[in-house]
């Protein structure tokens, strides 16, 4: 059914009911006035889904990026949108389906005069699944989508971003919605005014809207970096990390923030962003993700020049040579194909990422402990004591070399601060030697060493 026929058919529904006094009326905000509008029963066949519906915007855009624009007026396009709407929140859809089956459509929808569903796409999709329902209860706006898209966008956003509805959405949708509206308004009314309007329509503070816009910029850049341009489905489950990363970018770009106590440049921030993208891709989250750059400078890698240089060097060393499987742009199930690609990437990098984080986190801890020497030294003693020295691996030459290195470090430190303590320590050590434990074949060598100690003692005494 083409647009013109739809307009005629919907008009005929209005005309048929012009003397009907029993029509339910509902108030909606239209062109800044509270209007009371009649609710009509519109045959489902007159309706067209809105593919830019905020509930499925990320899915529609991803699909159009992979294929080509969806024509919702064809059977194929309609089926595609129905599938996306169904999959958008399957559990919730099942519940609503059962409720509609029992009680019918409870919430009235909104359509344009040419049958495009502005509010109620999900309900209409569910009604289409129930054979006994062949109509949709809706208010009919006095315009087509083309006649006043901004007003319709406003209406849709107010309805769909309302508190109750928000819960039913994929978290990505709100960011995308904010960007979509900004793109429409900005060229004419400027960014600040556009943000004010978005904040009005979404019922959020302007600062929140700015945050949404910053986050979607970071998300877009992430997708471009992976050549996943516009495939918003690949952001699922990563929202929190993007919020965190966007905060870092805002903090660090073009300023010597106190959160990183060194003279970094914007190139270093770019490097941080690039590494964070890799960690987001393999789904690092929470405390471990925040180790990259979050909070006070002593709590993250980016806060210390040496730690950051070493961390980033090792990161790029481990990722530079990774060979990835090619993207199958035609994959019939793109999301699972790209998820699988990300998982394979994770398999290749997870051990090196884990080790890199562990190692540099330890350096961070050492740095923190450096301010509190007693605690630091005690930690080292505890750490050494906790090693099972009876284990066969402990006598490995490599391990023993490390033990020797540890001993030398302790000695060097004592020597620098108090040579007298070194002497006391040596006396203590000499007193503890159990001569009876020296094997027969090492006695001559031991005697030579004792002689050398005598000589050294003589010279020191002089």
């Amino acid at each position: 059914m083409n647009k013109k026929i739809r307009i005629d058919k919907i008009q005929s529904v209005i005309d048929r009911n012009k003397d009907n006094k029993d029509l339910l009326k509902q108030e909606i905000m239209w062109e800044d006035k509270l209007e009371s509008m009649a609710v009509y029963k519109i045959p489902l066949e007159y309706l067209v889904y809105n593919k830019f519906n905020g509930r499925i915007l990320s899915r529609t855009k991803s699909l159009e990026k992979q294929k080509h624009s969806i024509d919702v007026e064809t059977d194929e396009g309609k089926a595609k949108i129905e599938q996306l709407l169904w999959e958008s929140k399957e559990d919730r859809n099942k519940k609503t389906l059962s409720s509609i089956s029992k009680f019918g459509q409870q919430r009235v929808g909104i359509i344009t005069k040419d049958g495009i569903i502005i509010d109620g796409n999900r309900r209409a999709m569910l009604l289409n699944r129930i054979p006994e329902y062949d109509y949709f209860k809706a208010i009919i706006l006095p315009v087509t989508l083309e006649e006043n898209p901004i007003e319709i966008e406003k209406l849709e956003t107010t309805y769909q971003m309302g508190e109750d509805e928000k819960l039913g959405y994929n978290p990505i949708e709100k960011y995308l919605k904010a960007k979509t509206i900004l793109d429409k308004l900005k060229p004419t009314i400027g960014e600040d005014e556009a943000i004010k309007r978005i904040s009005d329509w979404m019922g959020e503070k302007t600062s929140k809207v700015r945050e949404y816009l910053g986050v979607i910029d970071t998300m877009d850049e992430y997708l471009q970096t992976l050549d996943y341009d516009g495939i918003y489905t690949q952001l699922d489950g990563r929202e929190d990390q993007f919020i965190t990363l966007t905060n870092w970018i805002n903090n660090y770009y073009n300023s010597e923030s106190k959160k990183a106590g060194w003279a970094y440049s914007n190139l270093d921030v770019d490097e941080l962003k690039s590494i964070a993208f890799d960690y987001i891709r393999v789904k690092y989250e929470g405390k471990e993700f925040r180790l990259l750059a979050h909070g006070l400078k002593e709590n993250h890698f980016f806060g210390d020049k040496n730690i950051w240089s070493s961390f980033s060097l090792e990161h790029f060393d481990s990722t530079n040579e990774i060979k990835e499987i090619e993207i199958n742009y035609d994959s019939p199930n793109l999301k699972s194909h790209l998820d699988d690609r990300d998982t394979k990437y994770k398999e290749k990098v997870k051990d090196s990422f884990k080790e890199n984080v562990r190692k540099h986190n330890q350096k961070l801890q050492y740095n923190r402990a450096a301010d509190k020497p007693g605690k630091g030294v005690q930690n080292s003693i505890d750490s050494f004591d906790s090693i099972n020295k009876g284990h066969k691996n402990f006598s490995n030459p490599e391990v023993q070399d490390l033990v020797e290195k540890l001993g030398n470090n302790v000695f060097d430190s004592l020597n620098r601060t108090s040579p007298n303590r070194v002497l006391s320590h040596i006396v203590g050590l000499l007193e503890k030697i159990d001569i009876s434990k020296i094997p027969e074949d090492e006695i001559d060598d031991a005697k030579k060493k004792v002689k050398k100690i005598q000589n050294l003692g003589y010279y020191l005494f002089k």
Binding site: K51, K61, E64, K65, Q66, K67, H68, S69, E76, L145, E146, N148, P149, I150, T180, D183, K184, P187, T188, D220, Q224, D227, Y228, D229, G230, I231, I327, N328, Y329, D330
Partner: protein, 323 residues
């Protein structure tokens, strides 16, 4: 150029550009500023789009519009092409391709590997995946301008090149593809197979087939865009045949005894197509003789491989370390 357009979902449709350009033309006395153009398209939906920033940038990039002292002016040459939407469509496509000619990224998309030929419908096709996700806006633009058509079979992820615009491909894209073919791997392959004269021989065979079939059949030059089909030309055994029945691999040689190098792919296609597969062996020295008849061998996988009159030797082995 493609890189800075990458972030936009919408690069425009014929309706958008026709309105933009005719508005500028019809109101030439009025000074148009960028803000006026934004205002013109504010609160509008054109072909399902309501964000036009990318389209306006594209119009600048391909010099449909230019900025002079802050005023937006229509390219003077283009004024003559706005008599109808169809005329504008054709000229827009031409301008677009001429502007893209020197853009390297375009040959990642329009590379020989991404083309194929549907011999039944005689159409040159391009893999939809050639655009990846990053240039999907260009793909949509070309679909909207009817340069590419979505394949009617859902499972086939190819785009059909509209024959109306094939000439633009031949003129702008094809020479670059050839240059690149000879620039990189293909050059080595061609040299190894001593087919550097292949194109000349293929043109000879196209003419030869045209004459053999009395000039009434549409013979398809497959190798023009595609390197890995396994044959160069799709022709017909007789004028009565409705679809191609003769798939010709053209080989050229010099000297008295014909010889040729056969790739694994060509051999496999020959084995599959059997009697429909032909080898045409062309003596380069005789190609200009008026009555020259090439040596045409039908079903070479049987007639040559199993025929002792032809000496066969392996020119090289593929040796791979499997440790």
């Amino acid at each position: 150029m493609l890189k800075d357009l990458r972030k936009f979902d919408n690069l425009g449709t014929p309706n958008f550009f026709f309105e933009l350009l005719t508005t500028l033309k019809d109101s030439e006395k009025q000074k148009w500023r960028i803000g006026d153009i934004n205002q013109l398209f504010f609160n509008r939906v054109i072909d399902n789009h309501s964000v036009f920033e990318g389209c306006i940038l594209l119009a600048f990039r391909i010099n449909l519009i230019i900025e002079v002292n802050g005023n937006i002016e229509l390219d003077q040459k283009f004024e003559n092409y706005l008599n109808s939407k169809n005329q504008m469509n054709d000229k827009f496509v031409e301008r677009l391709f001429l502007s893209l000619e020197s853009v390297n990224e375009i040959y990642e998309i329009f590379s020989s590997e991404n083309f194929s030929q549907d011999i039944v419908y005689q159409s040159l096709q391009l893999k939809s995946s050639a655009f990846g996700f990053k240039y999907s806006n260009l793909k949509q633009l070309l679909i909207d301008f009817n340069v590419l058509k979505v394949h009617p079979t859902n499972e086939i992820n190819n785009l059909i090149i509209n024959t109306r615009y094939k000439k633009i491909f031949d003129k702008v894209i094809l020479p670059q593809i050839k240059k690149r073919k000879i620039g990189i791997e293909e050059f080595k392959k061609l040299m190894e197979q001593q087919q550097i004269y292949g194109e000349e021989a293929e043109k000879f065979v196209l003419k030869y087939e045209h004459n053999r079939l009395n000039g009434v059949k549409e013979i398809q030059w497959i190798a023009e865009y595609i390197v890995n089909a396994g044959y160069d030309i799709a022709s017909f055994n007789t004028v009565q045949d409705e679809k191609p029945t003769r798939f010709i691999e053209v080989k050229s040689y010099e000297g008295e005894s014909p010889y040729f190098f056969w790739s694994r792919n060509e051999m496999e296609v020959a084995k599959r197509k059997l009697t429909e597969y032909w080898l045409y062996l062309i003596n380069r020295k005789k190609i200009n003789q008026e009555d020259y008849e090439p040596l045409c061998i039908q079903n070479p996988s049987v007639e040559i491989l199993k025929n002792a009159q032809w000496d066969k030797s392996i020119d090289k082995y593929k040796i791979m370390f499997n440790g």
